[in-house]
């Protein structure tokens, strides 16, 4: 089994005239949790969409689990995507199905397991994210954090080889968030799952990340273990980790300064 799970080379992404990603390289190995960092609007989510084939690159290549996703079609493409799990930012549970039915859906479609085994497996997957009690509720009847956990159970329904998580802990309480981190670590350790996490939560990054990739303005600013990236002297990186406000970093004058307040009259 090849050890590289995801390989992105020179990825360029455009929405119309705007270039979102400009030559991004990213290599994620199995048995690795990769955290993608960056401020809002730096292209994190766009990168994720390209990795799972929702968007096609304007230039560059994406190889997912050893195959070039954009060159595949039909069943071959589906077969590759089945081996991939995705946790969307808002969960993206289907509103007309209960939580349990949402998790069962990929199992019913892609396996020949008998119904009672699917039911059992759904319960196991929901128990993993502490959602057993919500199996028969509709997504609209549970909270945002619970929706996210249920969505994670759905993403893991088919035991994927690579898991993409878009802001998994945003909107979760610290306890649930810690549970989630522990679960991601278990999945990595026991199954050698490759996990790509887009997140802002510094606390969680410290616990889970093997390597981090920092994006800024569509380019990779830094790539390496957290300690190494943190030690970088680049002002953007320092600002990110020390939580310096963007306005202060750009040295924009306040209205007071603009109007010459405090200066000589």
């Amino acid at each position: 089994m090849a050890s590289v799970a995801l390989e992105v080379r020179g990825l360029v992404a455009r929405y119309g005239e705007r270039t979102i990603l400009d030559g991004v390289d990213l290599t994620v190995h199995r048995h690795e949790i990769r955290v993608i960092l960056g401020g809002s609007g730096c292209g994190k989510s766009t990168l994720l969409k390209h990795c799972i084939g929702l968007n096609l690159p304007a230039a560059g290549t994406v190889r997912l689990l050893g195959a070039a996703l954009e060159q595949l079609e039909g069943p071959a493409r589906d077969a590759l995507l089945i081996r991939t799990g995705v946790l969307f930012q808002n969960g993206a549970l289907l509103g007309s199905l209960t939580v349990g039915e949402n998790v069962a859906l990929p199992l019913q479609e892609h396996t020949s397991l008998p119904a009672e085994l699917i039911a059992e497996l759904v319960r196991l997957k929901l128990a993993q994210v502490e959602m057993s009690h919500a199996e028969h509720l509709l997504p609209s009847e549970i909270s945002g954090g619970m929706r996210k956990r249920a969505a994670l159970a759905r993403a893991m329904a088919l035991d994927p080889e690579i898991l993409f998580c878009d802001e998994p802990s945003a909107g979760l309480d610290p306890l649930t968030s810690a549970e989630l981190d522990a679960l991601l670590l278990r999945l990595r350790d026991r199954f050698g799952m490759a996990i790509v996490v887009v997140t802002h939560e510094l606390a969680s990054i410290e616990i889970i990340s093997d390597r981090v990739t920092m994006l800024a303005a569509g380019k990779v600013l830094a790539d390496g273990p957290l300690a190494e990236v943190r030690a970088s002297s680049l002002p953007e990186i320092q600002a990110f980790f020390r939580r310096i406000a963007a306005g202060e970093m750009r040295r924009e004058p306040s209205a007071w300064e603009l109007l010459g307040g405090g200066g000589e009259s």
Binding site: G95, S96, T111, L117, E120, L121, R123, L138, S140
Partner: protein, 370 residues
């Protein structure tokens, strides 16, 4: 290379051992399931699983083992793991489960559904009446002191509800006028009364078909749009956001739409009346060879102001009903995307039902009273 799934059964009845080897993943679990479920220990019996040769065990295999354990425990048997490889242990410890999973809620029975429906009807009627009152007051207030922003919103809605609907309303009503004239011409010619095609077409288009067809088209085009838009806003918590910004959802969403629909539907109806009569005129002059002047005179003679008034009164009531029903179903939505679709469908069905019933009542009322 991973080893294919393989198994061996040994031991006597009641004290069997099932030794599993190789990779058990979701492609192979169904095969193992057949074997394992056939071997399930009955009362007092025991089945020992030997997993020491298992190379990998995925979620589906864990589900199978848990399911088999539940089944055998229920029938008083014992299912235990004798030995397990590291891989099997890893998978089995990854998942947690309870001895008694929560049962699904029973599906509502027929009587229960009937009861729910009966209980929900008065609530629905009250909500609709409440909305009708709220919108009427808000409409009155808005007309009392119009602001530029509300007016802009109303004009934009009027453009979508009225102007954009013009071509399709005109085409449909032209064809209805044409059809009416053809159908009646065939009958009236037998009595040598072909000229009365003009009366029949004019009266039925202006009193009946013009308002009715226009209202049905607007219900399909705009009533549904109002319901879907408001419902989507409601689902996305936009309605709540308006509320906490101190903006009244009724005033902000309902008033411009109701105002627009109340103004444009009567105007559309007048347009529909004209092209409907034109349809009859074309049949009369080209097919029945009635002179254009004679046809027009006959048409004008047959019509009184009360005919137009009847039609327009109807169209205003229809417009009010379409708008209100669209808003009602939009605001009523709970939940997600599927509910938005259901409510939109329900709003169109309810609006068309309302139009037909109201039309029937009005037609009877106007012929008796006027």
């Amino acid at each position: 290379m991973a080893r294919e799934l393989d198994w061996q059964v040994s031991g006597d009845e009641g004290r069997r051992t099932l030794a599993v080897a190789g990779v058990v993943d979701r492609a192979h679990t169904p095969r193992l399931a057949e074997q394992l479920l056939a071997l399930l220990p009955g009362h007092g019996a025991r089945l020992t699983l030997d997993l020491s040769q298992v190379e990998a065990l995925d979620g589906s295999a864990v589900a199978l083992l848990v399911h088999a354990w539940r089944e055998s425990t229920r029938s008083g048997g014992q299912l235990v793991i004798g030995a397990a490889s590291e891989a099997a242990r890893r998978s089995l410890t990854l998942y947690r489960t309870r001895e008694d999973p929560p049962a699904p809620p029973p599906p509502p029975g027929f009587l229960e559904g009937l009861g729910d429906l009966a209980l929900s009807l008065p609530v629905a009627a009250r909500d609709l009446a409440q909305l009708a009152a709220d919108t009427t007051f808000a409409l009155g207030r808005a007309l009392g002191r119009p602001t530029r922003r509300r007016l802009g919103a109303a004009i934009e809605q009027a453009y979508h509800i009225g102007y954009r609907a013009l071509p399709i309303v005109a085409l449909i009503c032209f064809l209805v006028g044409l059809t009416l004239a053809f159908q009646s011409a065939y009958q009236l010619q037998q009595f040598g009364a072909a000229i009365f095609v003009a009366n029949l077409t004019a009266i039925s288009v202006i009193r009946e078909m013009g308002p009715l067809m226009t209202a049905i088209l607007v219900a399909g085009r705009s009533g549904s749009a109002i319901a879907a838009e408001v419902a989507t806003m409601k689902v996305a918590e936009e309605v709540d956001a308006l509320q906490v910004m101190g903006l009244d959802a009724i005033e902000y969403l309902a008033v411009p739409r109701l105002l627009a629909i109340l103004v444009t539907v009567p105007v559309l109806t007048v347009g529909a009346d004209l092209v409907g009569v034109l349809g009859g005129f074309i049949v009369g002059t080209f097919y029945l060879d009635i002179s254009p002047i004679a046809y027009l005179n006959q048409t004008l003679d047959s019509l009184g102001p009360k005919d137009l008034l009847t039609g327009l009164t109807k169209s205003v009531v229809f417009a009010w009903g379409i708008g209100l029903i669209g808003l009602y179903y939009g605001f009523r939505v709970r939940g997600g995307a599927a509910e938005v679709g259901r409510m939109t469908t329900a709003s169109v069905v309810a609006a068309i039902f309302f139009i037909i019933v109201a039309d029937c009542l009005f037609s009877v009322l106007f012929y008796i009273v006027l």
